[in-house]
């Protein structure tokens, strides 16, 4: 299904103004605007870093000018579902590192926790503020042909992309200025202020005006642009591991031109295992020796908390609906994709027997790596997947092949450019602290080659602005209204 155009070929109500403008402009003007947008991206220096041929290359951010549109009332439901999901996931993480009620009550299998590569023994007994571990999450959503929006995966470690939500909007505002004047499109700019508020709330007790820092692995990281962007928007310091030092007092300091200065809250964009060589990988040069000591002593706030990733692997995913019911006593407001777990012999047998029309995924890879799509893989690839599943069954899950929805996209064709449907997903960002905040919309990623389902920018995907539009009558309402007017 298409997000902007109905099965009858008519624009959906929330997208009507956009689609009629696109028609009126014609493809030539649209291409002009696309070029202006690309020039904006170039001069604003909006980039991402790709690692290829042994080199890190700073590339211009790929962007398609035609936005994805979501009606406000639909978004309100999705947003409530995301906030609910993250509340439950955070209670789950806090439980795992403390009382493990969920295991004692037989809701979550103890074996799974034992086998988890993302459970950090070093975090047992820690109680972060508000019981929240995954403060910032980027949840991937897709819409299947049935029209239902499903959660595809939870990213609770160091999800990236939110900077592009804000930058895409800045670019689109210039490209389609006339539509912003006529429609109520929810602004996305508030995110960084909400993030700043959240980080401030994580400061050690009694600290007023805490010093915030964003901890980056450095300029060669694929998301360096974003680390820098967030630090700019919050007025935080952008630090690398070597800029920080933990003193004998278990407090974190940064090396300034005036000497050492205390840091109170760190938004870390480094994976757990590289965070502190005293506790995790001893060979890590990206981290800060002693950081875990400082965190456990309550002298520094860390977002996301170390160990939060225990709840975002693709195996735990299969339990999330149960966890929501268990912790909140509520039914999930947003759907999960039915997921088969290779750890159970009967489900494994089913996966292997039906591998040709399943997607199989390794539990702990990100960026789309390692995924095998049954109906697109060669038989050699399928054989290799079966072998991998049998060798390490806890690490694999399978889901039905979803047909990602599409959005009209400007692509090369017909000797120039044409507007054709391309597959998209959606990554909204959820902040959880004392309360919750969900970005209006999120990052829409688009697979640019015809028929492709791979949306990752590291693998040739593009992006779109996402509009949550208010004040639009649904189709049936506007029809009945016009009928009434006609009969009057």
């Amino acid at each position: 299904m298409d997000e902007l155009v109905g099965d009858d070929g008519a624009p959906r109500p929330a997208a009507a103004a956009l689609m009629s403008l696109i028609d009126a402009l014609g493809s030539e003007t649209l291409v002009d605007r696309q070029h202006v947008a690309e020039l904006d991206i170039l001069t604003m220096g909006i980039t991402f870093t790709v690692y290829s041929d042994g080199q890190n290359i700073d590339r211009t951010w790929p962007f398609d000018i035609i936005p994805r549109v979501i009606p406000g009332e639909e978004w309100d439901r999705i947003s409530a579902g995301l906030a609910q999901r993250l509340r439950a996931l955070n209670m789950f993480i806090d439980d795992l590192y403390n009382d493990q009620r969920v295991i004692a009550d037989g809701v979550f299998p103890a074996d799974l926790l034992k086998a988890s590569v993302n459970f950090r023994e070093q975090c047992r007994g820690v109680r972060p503020k508000f019981g929240v571990w995954a403060h910032i999450s980027g949840t991937d959503l897709v819409r299947d042909h049935d029209g239902v929006m499903y959660v595809l995966e939870d990213n609770l470690r160091v999800p990236s992309g939110v900077s592009y939500v804000l930058e895409n909007r800045a670019v689109t505002k210039r490209a389609f200025a006339e539509l912003f004047a006529r429609q109520q499109i929810r602004p996305v700019d508030g995110y960084t202020d909400e993030l700043k508020r959240l980080l401030i709330s994580l400061a050690p007790d009694g600290v007023v005006d805490p010093q915030l820092a964003v901890l980056t692995p450095g300029i060669f990281n694929s998301a360096y642009f974003e680390h820098s962007f967030l630090a700019q928007r919050m007025g935080a310091e952008l630090v690398e591991g070597a800029d920080l030092v933990v003193g004998d007092d278990d407090c974190v300091y940064m090396r300034t031109i005036a000497g050492l200065e205390r840091v109170h809250v760190i938004y870390r964009r480094i994976d757990d295992l590289f965070l502190d060589p005293e506790v995790f990988r001893a060979d890590s040069t990206l981290g800060v020796p002693g950081l875990m000591r400082a965190w456990k002593s309550g002298n520094v706030g860390l977002a996301n908390a170390p160990g939060a990733g225990v709840a975002d692997d693709k195996v735990v995913y299969a339990w999330v609906p149960d966890l929501i019911r268990y912790y909140l006593g509520e039914d999930p407001l947003i759907a999960s994709v039915p997921t088969y777990r290779a750890m159970y012999p009967d489900e494994r047998k089913f996966i292997i027997g039906n591998i040709g029309d399943r997607v199989v995924k390794p539990a702990n890879e990100s960026g789309g790596y390692g995924i095998v799509i049954g109906n697109r893989a060669t038989s050699a690839e399928l054989d290799a997947a079966v072998e991998a599943i049998e060798a390490d069954s806890r690490n694999w899950v399978a889901q039905p092949i979803l047909s990602l929805s599409t959005v009209p996209t400007l692509v090369p064709g017909g000797g120039g450019h044409v507007v054709e449907p391309r597959h998209v997903d959606l990554r909204p960002f959820v902040l959880t602290g004392l309360g919750s905040y969900v970005t209006p919309g999120g990052l829409t990623r688009v697979a640019l080659p015809k028929g492709s389902l791979v949306v990752n920018s590291s693998q040739g995907g593009g992006s779109k602005d996402t509009w949550v539009v208010d004040g639009v009558f649904s189709q049936s309402q506007s029809q009945s209204q016009s009928q009434r007017q006609g009969s009057a």
Binding site: L42, Q232, E237, D243, A258
Partner: protein, 314 residues
């Protein structure tokens, strides 16, 4: 809020690179203009440009003939020359890109514009027909960054490090121009000056964009000693060494524990104050400039030692 030592280092160098690109553009532009003005009977020489930039050896290793095209290409567009305009701008852009959290967005975008222009047009800077326009654009774009810097950036520690880098680079460049260009023009007492010397002295001033301000400040025609006094000791012209030194000291006053660096500045100031220019011939001037450059170099060393290398010890 304290400035990270690593970031201070990057900002300082970023500013030096932008300034170096701008100054190099001025110098090449003026040299081209001067050679057009000289009568055809006077042999033209582009090699002083290499001497000013201190890159003679690197040039000789890569080019066979020291002719106009080779030298200009080397100084403008050669990726193997770290001091070429292209590489300075690229380095400055990379430094600013990795300090965006302390620099206003407008400053970054102006630096990025400078980079995008130079990256796509650097070959225009080589051919004589398009050279002036390219070099003027480099100067203009780099002043655009300075404009945004001055009008949108808080005068915080990050600001002072940019100012510091710019002022030291300027002082350094002015002494280099004096060393190479003026040294060969100084006439030993009793000898008669070459009739083309006034054109050359004017050119020295022009390559630092100083001619008009020289006339306002000195009320004299263009001549050697007055030009040197102006470029070394004027307290109001922004590219004069003394004025750059004032900028450096003002910046330092706004930074933590500047005592040792200020001491190095005062030594440089004393050096300037003790000079009797009328007595200097070519060799004496060369010696003076050498001492000045060492003094400026020691200010740089003290900045690094105080703020970048061992800040945790304070």
């Amino acid at each position: 809020m304290g400035l990270l030592a690593r970031v201070a280092d990057r900002l300082y160098w970023a500013a030096r690179y932008v300034e170096r690109a701008e100054d190099t553009a001025r110098i090449i532009r003026e040299h081209t203009n001067m050679i057009i003005d000289l009568p055809t009977s006077v042999p033209v020489n582009w090699e002083p440009l290499l001497a000013i930039m201190g890159t003679r050896e690197a040039f000789d290793a890569r080019y066979e003939r020291a002719d106009e095209m080779s030298i200009v290409r080397f100084l403008v567009a050669d990726r193997e020359n770290h001091g070429s305009i292209l590489m300075c701008v690229e380095q400055a852009r990379e430094d600013f890109r990795t300090c965006r959290e302390v620099v206003p967005r407008e400053v970054w975008q102006a630096v990025n514009d400078l980079y995008l222009y130079v990256a796509s047009h650097h070959l225009d800077g080589v051919a004589r027909a398009s050279r002036s326009r390219f070099l003027e654009r480099v100067v203009g774009e780099s002043l655009r960054t300075a404009g945004f810097f001055g009008s949108t950036m808080s005068r915080d520690e990050a600001h002072e490090f940019i100012r510091l880098g710019r002022a030291l680079e300027r002082a350094d460049m002015t002494t280099r121009v004096i060393d190479v260009r003026a040294g060969s023009l100084m006439v030993p007492v009793g000898e008669e000056a070459d009739p083309h010397d006034d054109v050359q002295w004017m050119s020295v001033l022009r390559s630092l964009s100083a001619l008009q301000m020289y006339h306002r400040a000195t009320r004299r025609p263009v001549e050697g000693p007055a030009t040197l006094r102006f470029l070394l000791m004027d307290d109001a012209f922004p590219r004069a060494v003394s004025c750059c030194l004032t900028d450096v000291m003002e910046s330092l006053q706004r930074l933590p524990h500047p005592e040792v660096v200020l001491l190095a500045c005062q030594q440089t100031r004393r050096l300037l104050a003790a000079v009797g220019l009328e007595d200097l011939d070519g060799d004496g001037l060369h010696e003076l400039v050498d001492r000045l450059q060492v003094a400026i170099g020691s200010i740089h060393d003290q900045v690094m030692a105080t703020y970048v290398r061992t800040p945790a010890d304070h």
